[in-house]
């Protein structure tokens, strides 16, 4: 099918884009659009042109799949089209319905006139990918709606209703219906005016009207520096606007181009684009048969009304799905229901939820004490104590009561999902759904695919994740799955750094400066140090750990489980979440160092960061090699959405790629050579070693 449809309305040529779903301005559409414009320009019977979308939208902008590839600027580029429009001697009207975003809006701004449907929205979302509008947007928009408005459009990146700009020169007209008729009328009137000697209006000929340009731009810069910290694009947007406003539009175009290239070549945009694609890729599950149909899930049961169980329940209530909440005792059950209500009441207080919705959601929650009540639900998720014996009891009972076809899910964070599936007569219906605490807030959901998990069960889990707005990542079965298996190495490395001489404060500060939301010790105090202690005790018993985490165990033996006990790696004061350095912990560390005969040394922030991050990376490489994770970007997504890894660094695997794997491997070998180092720990994983040798990357392949 052709990508544009060209038709005549009297002496007006109507060029309609037909590149579903959103008329992205990819190479093929650009070629046809250029040809259509040239035909109309050359046709003596045509006195004006209307550009319009099809399928209810104008254009969502550049084709993001072309980003970073030669296709993006392959002629005719968006620049070619914009400059052609600038030079056209017939009026061109953009007729905007649905969305005009990014390059789509930039194209519209290069037209002489714009007419929009009142329901349409416009926006320049480039900032979200760490970029700026690179096809003239930073120059034309301030000339049409002023600097203040243009900065707000570009810095927020949000699509905004056209009504906000109806009175500005951005739009000649905003209409309720009959968009094309209105656009044709504007084109005819403009053609008549042109015949009458009135020049065609162009955005580029307008002056930027801002008496306090420097002051306003600097205010915006100061604001952006605090609001966007590590992100360079907002500052570049402001710079481009000010540059062109103080000089000429052509100087502004050149500066915009220079800054665009700088951002495009920089690490932050690379990370954000990586994340954009990672989010889309994560939904694709490898090895599922074509056309597999998800099962329908209209009701859910959650077993366990603790913090985790109620958090999970809230996700479904929010999505309008009925939830049975099961506990063994009335008291715990009541507390659980109260906790759900409290969460909603908190939201009402903050104005995020209205009281009617609160009641509607609570009405969907049905507490129960008996397994028999779970016989008709489509999905059961257990969130009970992390102990194989307890899980066995739960799954045997579920197997007895659940209806055929019901999906039985475990929220275990470390236990063997296949073993759990073995407690039932229907292992193909069993899956892991690993939520992260607080489950109603954290975006990540690890979907654990057991050896026997049925394809449609997996497909159901992925579809459901979308419905409850989670970022789902598929993981194979192993101890800790993707996230916790890696974090164990990271925590072990943090402990090792403590043993060698770094204080817990220094380690936390170094990794937080790198961009983590919270360092390992503050994180432990928040989550509860007893959780890891409990897991370690099991792993010691199973012989899975080479050495004991002496200090961490000691801290727990002292009852310092974290914020909940008022003391952990740090001291806490009542009603104050500030972490104060603890002399008790310092003494325990001294003691452990003395007992193991270690002379503490000064460890630089750079070494702390590299050792912590590369501990993640090396384990990530194993996870990838073992096919526990489907792809490197899935691992990145786990860390971005579940573990507070800085988004602008793109995730651990992307970060390693950006450092080059050769350099990562070389640094690891350096750590292996340090006195008292665990050489096995720092031996690059086979995949990492292969990729490093072949100049490959986790996300790009190459070995």
């Amino acid at each position: 099918m052709a990508m544009v449809d060209q038709s005549s309305r009297g002496r007006i040529s109507v060029i309609a884009f037909q590149a579903p779903p959103v008329n992205s301005l990819g190479y093929a559409l650009r070629v046809e659009m250029l040809a259509a414009l040239q035909r109309a320009a050359a046709d003596p019977d045509v006195e004006g042109i209307v550009l319009v979308g099809s399928n209810g939208t104008f254009s969502a902008g550049a084709d993001i799949r072309e980003f970073g590839t030669p296709e993006m600027i392959r002629g005719p580029s968006l620049w070619t089209l914009n400059s052609l429009l600038d030079d056209l001697h017939k009026p061109v009207v953009a007729a905007i319905e649905g969305m005009a975003l990014g390059g789509g809006l930039e194209l519209a701004m290069s037209c002489h006139h714009r007419v929009a449907l009142a329901t349409a929205r416009i926006g320049l979302p480039e900032v979200k990918l760490g970029l700026l509008p690179g096809a003239g947007g930073t120059q034309r928009l301030p000339r049409l709606i002023g600097v203040e408005g243009a900065l707000n459009v570009m810095l927020s990146g949000e699509p905004l209703p056209v009504a906000l700009f109806a009175k500005s020169p951005l739009f000649d007209k905003v209409v309720e219906t009959d968009l094309v008729d209105a656009a044709v009328a504007v084109a005819e009137a403009s053609a008549a005016a042109l015949r009458g000697g009135k020049p065609l209006p162009r955005a580029r000929d307008r002056k930027v009207k801002e008496p306090d340009l420097q002051a306003l731009c600097q205010f915006a810069r100061n604001t952006a520096k605090t609001a966007f910290k590590e992100y360079p694009a907002p500052l570049s947007i402001i710079d481009a606007v000010e540059y062109g406003a103080t000089r000429s539009i052509d100087a502004g175009f050149a500066e915009e181009g220079r800054l665009f290239k700088q951002l495009m070549d920089g690490p932050v945009s690379a990370s954000l684009r990586h994340v954009f694609f990672a989010e889309r890729a994560a939904g694709r599950v490898t090895g599922l048969p074509e056309g597999v149909k998800p099962r329908s899930v209209a009701s859910v049961a959650v077993i366990g009304a603790g913090t985790m169980g109620t958090g999970i329940a809230i996700n479904f209530l929010n999505a309008g799905i009925a939830v049975r909440l099961l506990e063994v005792g009335q008291d715990a059950l009541d507390k659980g229901v109260a906790r759900v209500r409290q969460t909603y009441e908190g939201q009402v207080k903050k104005g995020k939820l209205d009281a009617a919705k609160l009641e509607a959601r609570m009405a969907l929650l049905k507490p129960t004490l008996t397994y028999a009540d779970l016989g008709d639900v489509d999905l059961v998720i257990e969130a009970v104590f992390e102990d194989m014996g307890v899980k066995e009891k739960v799954f045997r009972q579920l197997d007895a009561v659940a209806k055929p076809g019901a999906i039985l899910a475990t929220n275990t964070s470390t236990l063997d999902v296949d073993q759990i599936a073995g407690f039932t007569s229907r292992p193909s219906d069993v899956i892991g759904l690993h939520f992260f605490s607080p489950a109603n807030v954290m975006k990540l959901l690890e979907v654990v695919r057991g050896a026997k998990t049925a394809p449609d069960v997996l497909a159901t889990a992925m579809a459901l994740a979308k419905k409850i707005r989670k970022s789902a990542v598929v993981s194979g079965v192993c101890d800790g799955f993707i996230g916790n298996r890696m974090i164990n190495q990271y925590s072990a490395q943090a402990m090792q750094l403590v043993n060698e001489g770094a204080s817990v404060e220094k380690i936390d500060a170094a990794i937080e400066k790198f961009g983590f939301a919270m360092g390992p010790f503050r994180m432990g105090d928040l989550a509860g140090n007893d959780i890891g202690f409990h897991i370690r005790k099991r792993q010691y018993a199973e012989g899975k750990l080479k050495s004991k985490a002496v200090v961490a165990d000691r801290i727990c033996e002292l009852g310092r489980f974290g914020q909940k006990t008022g003391a952990g790696w740090y001291d806490y004061k009542p009603g104050d979440r500030t972490a104060y350095p603890s002399p008790v912990v310092a003494a325990a560390i001294e003691e452990a160092r003395a007992a193991s005969g270690v002379t503490p040394r000064r460890i630089s922030d750079a070494e702390i960061v590299d050792r912590l991050v590369y501990a993640l990376v090396n384990e990530g490489a194993r996870i990838l090699d073992e096919k526990i994770a489907q792809r490197a970007s899935d691992i990145d997504l786990v860390y971005l959405t579940g573990y507070g890894f800085p988004v602008w660094r793109g995730g651990p695997m992307q970060y390693a790629d950006s450092q080059t794997l050769y350099e990562v491997a070389r640094r690891m070998e350096g750590f292996a050579a340090l006195p008292g180092a665990d050489t096995e720990f720092w031996t690059p994983a086979p995949l990492l070693a292969r990729l490093a040798a072949a100049s490959g990357s986790f996300n790009g392949g190459g070995a």
Partner: protein
């Protein structure tokens, strides 16, 4: 008995200032130095009831005389105030005493018989200047090595004073709270009203409720923005120190502010001839240096010089305006010189009202003269510490 001045004595006949606004967030965050300076010079001239053309020179102090307050801003201010091109302009800089220095300079030129009518004052726009300073070759090698204190931040020097003279956080916070309480009471009683010339400007802001949207709007600023009613020591004690482990915090240090102020200074003879009503007479000015790393104690050296030359003692001074750069240095100077607390900064100081560096001296002179009249005192001293290790002090007689 009403006091008078005679002949070549210099008298201050009017004062006008903008409200002091919070830097970066306050009403003057987009206002150019010439705009705010022009506004107060015009107001001071109008209040004095003199012919603008009679002004010999416009002398403006500025702590950071560059960018939006650069390019000999005093000349721009004269033009922006609507004065004829024949009126000159000079910008002077002695950091935080620049405004006082400007008034002293005008007075001295009158006393030297060089001219009869001057406008003198000061201004600062931290919003538009401090973040954009030209740092090219800002440090000299020999000084960095031998007198590093000359390049210390003011915050560092305040920490040094606290440590060297053993002045606790608690005492400083108590002083800070008292400054707020005095300023708050003073504001409620209208003690600042007479000196303020409200100004209408366009300001920028961020609407956090709308996802951080930028906005601009026109505002008329008529009150100092930093004064917080009901400030308590307990509340100030909770503020985190500016440097980890330090004792200087937002509650016991001056606020960063923007603002401009100007006085008309005339020879007593010309004032009498033109019918202007003098507020006070300039009686002397002294500066003295000290170690740069403890610049806050500068007044301890400048004040004795000033008083000795005038043949006065500390107890002869009815009212002191000792600039509150930091509570720690005010406390040290007060106790070292024996200044009674009830005569010191009676309407609060820079901790509450704000401190646009080069402007503060003007504000303190204007306020001391008006407050001195209200309280019926004869001599007032305006003094401050100065970056680089100096103290400046001016003596005025209230009329």
């Amino acid at each position: 008995m009403s006091r008078t001045a005679s002949g070549h004595e210099a008298v201050i006949v009017s004062t006008a200032r903008t409200p002091l606004t919070r830097s970066w967030r306050g009403a003057l965050n987009m206002t150019h130095g010439a705009t705010m300076g022009g506004h107060v010079v015009k107001a001071a001239v109008e209040r004095a009831g003199i012919d603008p053309a009679s002004v010999e020179d416009v002398i403006m102090g500025c702590g950071l005389p560059e960018g939006a307050t650069g390019g000999n801003i005093a000349r721009q201010i004269a033009l922006r105030a609507g004065m004829p091109v024949s009126v000159s302009g000079i910008t002077v800089n002695r950091f935080c005493s620049s405004g006082l220095q400007a008034i002293a300079l005008a007075s001295q030129r009158i006393m030297a018989g060089e001219g009869d009518v001057y406008v003198a004052g000061g201004l600062e726009s931290l919003s538009c200047v401090q973040g954009e300073l030209n740092a090219h070759m800002a440090y000299e090698g020999w000084l960095s090595e031998h007198k590093p204190g000359i390049y210390h931040s003011m915050l560092q020097t305040a920490e040094t004073v606290a440590a060297r003279y053993n002045i606790s956080r608690e005492v400083q916070d108590a002083y800070g709270a008292s400054s707020q309480q005095r300023a708050s009471a003073g504001q409620a009683a209208g003690h600042f009203k007479e000196e303020i010339a409200p100004i209408t400007v366009r300001m920028a802001g961020v609407d956090q409720a709308a996802g951080g949207r930028l906005f601009t709007r026109e505002v008329t600023s008529s009150q100092d923005e930093g004064i917080r009613e009901g400030t308590t020591v307990e509340a100030l004690a909770k503020i985190r120190p500016a440097m980890p482990g330090g004792v200087i915090a937002a509650g016991n240090a001056s606020q960063l502010s923007d603002g401009a102020g100007a006085c008309v200074v005339m020879s007593a003879a010309e004032a009498a001839r033109s019918g202007a009503k003098p507020l006070g007479v300039f009686r002397g000015f002294a500066v003295a240096g000290c170690e740069p790393d403890e610049m806050g104690i500068g007044p301890v050296f400048a004040i004795p010089k000033l008083l000795a030359r005038a043949g006065l003692k500390v107890e002869d001074i009815g009212l002191w305006e000792l600039n509150e750069a930091f509570a720690v240095q005010v406390i040290y100077c007060r106790d070292r010189l024996g200044i009674p607390d009830d005569r010191l900064n009676v309407d609060g100081g820079s901790i509450a009202v704000g401190h646009p560096f080069g402007m503060t001296g003007q504000r303190l002179v204007g306020h001391a003269l008006l407050a001195g009249k209200r309280l019926g005192v004869k001599h007032v001293v305006v003094t401050m510490c100065v970056g680089g290790g100096m103290g400046a002090a001016g003596l005025f007689e209230v009329l």
